[in-house]
């Protein structure tokens, strides 16, 4: 058994959130509404998991006003990117060590 997975990222919706924000370039962010479509989640569910990832220091959340409307923008932090890549490597290791890869 390969060890070293990240329990926080492994939760399916948080894994999808991290996959999406990790796909952004370093200076980019994604708006809450677009992230909702990417990860196919409800507002409440997505908000809760983003808060968990923010508390862990994996994502940064910025609230701005565009044309007087509130917008929430999410980006990945360097620590989040590193943790996500490490977790993906861990998942690949599991597949390879099982002989299925």
């Amino acid at each position: 058994m390969v060890t070293g997975g990240d329990d926080l990222i492994h939760q399916p919706l948080r894994l999808r959130i991290m996959a999406a924000v990790n796909g952004l370039r370093p200076s980019q962010n994604i708006e809450f509404a677009q992230l909702k479509k990417v990860v196919e989640a409800t507002d409440g569910n997505l908000g809760a998991h983003i808060a968990t990832l923010e508390q862990a220091g994996y994502v940064a959340v910025e609230k701005v006003f565009v044309n007087k409307k509130p917008r929430t923008r999410i980006s990945v932090t360097p620590a989040g990117r590193k943790a996500f890549c490490k977790h993906v490597d861990y998942l690949r290791d599991i597949i390879e060590s099982s002989g299925a890869g």
Partner: protein
């Protein structure tokens, strides 16, 4: 029930990685729509004005399209430069201009070798070229590109075949209109 990351089976790991790839693919498609939308709005205007002007002043078609294509490329360049980037703005601008030059050169070379015999042939060919490009992009980057490609290609052929006499006006309304609608449709994605 949540699975602990320390007790993941190979199947669960494979499913998780598939989930990762799907999320990244969806992001790539939505970002493609987001970047494509303003270009469709610009070129929808160019087509509507260009084909309508060509119908009104066919003798000036060459000049009309030269000016409008230059304006379209300039508009596209401004959109590319206004798009938030990670410092690759000049590379993207260069690629955008290179793509525009390649398409223009291809159409000009084809006209040179297989000169169009009529106004509708002159007007239909660039529309078919763009329709093909949209369909090809759609195969990799999301169905909305393919839909606009099929719509523009189909409308061009139908207009050429059934409304030959009013082809330029047909293309101004339905060709330009399709691009404009696609711009709004992609912006709403």
């Amino acid at each position: 029930m949540e699975t602990s990351a320390s007790s993941v089976s190979a199947q669960q790991a494979a499913d998780a990685l598939l989930d990762v790839r799907r999320a990244q693919h969806r992001l790539s498609i939505l970002r493609g729509y987001e970047y494509g939308a303003p270009h469709f709005l610009v070129w929808g205007c160019v087509w509507a004005i260009g084909y309508a002007s060509t119908a009104l002043w066919p003798g000036y078609a060459g000049v009309i399209w030269l000016v409008l294509d230059a304006l379209g490329l300039l508009g596209g360049l401004l959109i590319v430069r206004a798009t938030p980037t990670d410092g690759t703005r000049s590379a993207k601008s260069w690629r955008f201009l290179a793509a525009g030059a390649a398409i223009t050169a291809f159409i000009a070379a084809t006209y040179y070798i297989m000169a169009p015999n009529s106004g509708p042939q002159f007007g239909a060919f660039p529309a078919l070229v763009m329709a093909l490009i949209y369909v090809l992009v759609g195969i990799w980057r999301g169905p909305r590109w393919a839909v606009v490609g099929l719509a523009v290609g189909g409308l061009t052929v139908v207009g050429y075949g059934l409304f030959h006499e009013y082809f330029m006006l047909w293309m101004a309304a339905l060709g330009g209109g399709s691009l404009l609608l696609t711009g709004f449709w992609m912006r709403a994605a």
